[in-house]
Amino acid sequence: MNKLEAEDIYYLMVLGRAFEYAAKENYMKGNISGFLHLDIGQEGFSVAAIKAFEKGDIFSTYREHIMAMARDIETKAIMAELFGKQTGVSGGKGGSMHLFEPSRFFYGGDAIVGGHIPNAVGCAYARALQGNEDGVMVIFGDGATNGGAFFESLNIAATHKLPLLFLCENNEYAIGTNIKRAAPFREQAKKAEPYMLTYTVDGMDAKAVYETVRKAQIQIQEGHGPVFVEAFTCRYEGHSVSDSNAYRSPQEMNHCKVKDPLEKFKKELQEKWLCSEREIKSIEAKAQKAVDEAVEYAENSPEPELDALFENVFYEERKNVVS
């Protein structure tokens, strides 16, 4: 990571947080609907992981706004998608949980917990066959590590030594259920140990996440087969905007928020990269501006045409109706 990269990471973290708050506000206003899962508190994890995974394919979950931005998908196209607009990355058909941009090797955006993991395994298989060495990264929560899809994937990826980075965002909760009530232990990397190399990292420390993911990707590129990285994080909000977060006590929330990733990384910028207060303020202002513009863009974008309802069910539209 050099100074420019560090600034970019900080920019994306601030952008991400501002984006999420703006999304929440627009949800309250009724501009956004459905499920809206905010990534506040986990920005450092999301940005650093994506940035560290320099090339290669990415498969993520429904909590993916910030990851999509870190993968250089336009902020305004993401906000427009949340608004259900024609200009959204998925044309307004996907919404918050379904952001796709294959041109950036970013494939969602999946709302079936764990359901995208086998897809990532298949993509890694394709990459191995094609001789592409960048590998595939699949991101999922602690809740996904209890489902069959996850386990089958560990086994298959290890059997074929696939170039796949399993990245677990362990925020200790699946909606209201603490991981210790859904698994026999808190550290889900244990589940991967029989199959592959594993690392755990403090997910509130963007720099640490960056370095661990980078190291893992290099190992994958060197042909060591799959690697598992677990990052411990804290989500500040409820599971989704409609979740009251009542299952976590104020104490627990305070404890959890103490290591704010933005604060921490700002120090890094100041101390290691000697960024001035002014530089930092300017980054923050730029981020807020980008979010304001994204909201404006989303507001002013057109709704999809009604015909869109029938489009893109199939590739070969002509065959759609025979009669």
Binding site: F35, A174, T177
Partner: protein, 325 residues
């Protein structure tokens, strides 16, 4: 009482009366259920009987099958209909078949409940309907009620029945208000006549019943006719007797469902009527259903993908005029 409160009351009563009843699912316990159907139960019956599970739908149903084998009466909750697909092997290959394969040696008193359907902009992986698939599986009872009173009675029946029951709910019904008649003796397999009428039999179920009821005044006005509205309540077995009785009176059948048109549940009802009531029908039956597309996120598209009171009115009136109703 709200629909979800009626379900909650039913669960509470059976759990209180019979300590072999347990309920399991994601966030059903400490969290109170994602639609609050199981609210308060863990406080009363403890974590051993109100079981928070990991996100593992195959196991939720698979474990319920094993609990039933072991002598319990499990009520499994799947958070959203779409996730039930992960449990289809357990539902269809195990829950539905073990009794038959064992020639009756195994009995499975169990329920699998889930809400389904188009709620509000939850998009394609959270909005689908699976009654079509599950009602076609021999060995399963499928209940799906729109009425608050029925919700209470049908769920109680389901839990106390010694047969495997799929109990399908709808996200938009949970806050529906209604009266519960606690002392009623209600046959959950009997269709409910939501409204009597003499000229058109409109058959529906779950949330669409309410949409049909909203459409009926306008339809009656436009066509100058009277509609009978039947709420199926039980999707398998079907109370064909009530349907027959109604069609004999009206000679006309309209089927309204939220599911996709191609292969949707209503095809079975219309197909039955074509075979069994052919000479009674004075007009071609009409099937109103969702479009053959995954459910889109955008609200206008979403609403265009399923029947609404407006589209139901429009389509029945057009059909009525064309067919001299």
């Amino acid at each position: 009482m709200l629909y979800r409160e009626a379900l909650n009351k039913a669960l509470d009563e059976v759990m209180n009366a019979d300590d072999t009843v347990v309920t399991l699912g994601e966030d059903v316990g400490l969290y109170g259920g994602s639609f609050r159907v199981t609210e308060g139960l863990v406080e009363k019956y403890g974590e051993k009987r109100v079981i928070d599970t990991p996100i593992a739908e195959l196991s939720i149903v698979g474990n319920a099958v094993g609990m039933a084998i072991g002598g319990l009466r499990p009520v499994a909750e799947i958070m959203t209909g779409n996730f039930s697909l992960l449990a289809f092997d357990q539902i269809i290959n195990h829950m539905a078949k073990l009794r038959y394969m064992s020639n009756g040696k195994i009995t499975l008193p169990m329920v699998v409940r889930f809400p389904q359907g188009v709620s509000r902009q939850l998009a394609a992986q959270h909005s689908e309907s699976y009654e079509q698939m599950l009602s076609a599986v021999p060995g399963l009872r499928v209940l799906s009620v729109s009425d608050v009173n029925y919700a209470y009675h049908a769920l109680k029946y389901a839990v106390l029945s010694d047969d495997p029951v799929i109990f399908i709910e709808h996200e938009l019904l949970y806050n529906k208000k209604g009266e519960v008649n606690f002392s009623q003796n209600l046959d959950p397999f009997k269709a409910r006549i939501a409204k009597e009428g003499s000229d058109i039999t409109i058959v529906s179920y779950l949330k669409m019943v309410d949409d049909v009821m909203l459409a009926v005044p306008e339809i009656e006005k436009e066509l100058g006719c009277s509609c009978e509205v039947i709420d199926l309540c039980s999707l398998n077995p079907v109370d064909y007797e009530s349907l027959k009785h109604s069609i004999e009176k009206t000679s006309r059948l309209v089927m309204v469902e939220e599911d996709h048109k191609t292969g949707g549940y209503g095809a079975q009802i219309v197909s039955w009527a074509a075979e069994e009531m052919f000479y009674t029908l004075d007009a071609p039956p009409l099937r109103l259903a969702g479009e053959d597309v995954p459910i889109p996120y955008n609200r206008s598209l979403e609403l265009a993908s399923i029947p609404t009171p407006e589209s139901i009115t429009r389509d029945i009136v057009t059909w009525g005029k064309k067919n001299d109703v």
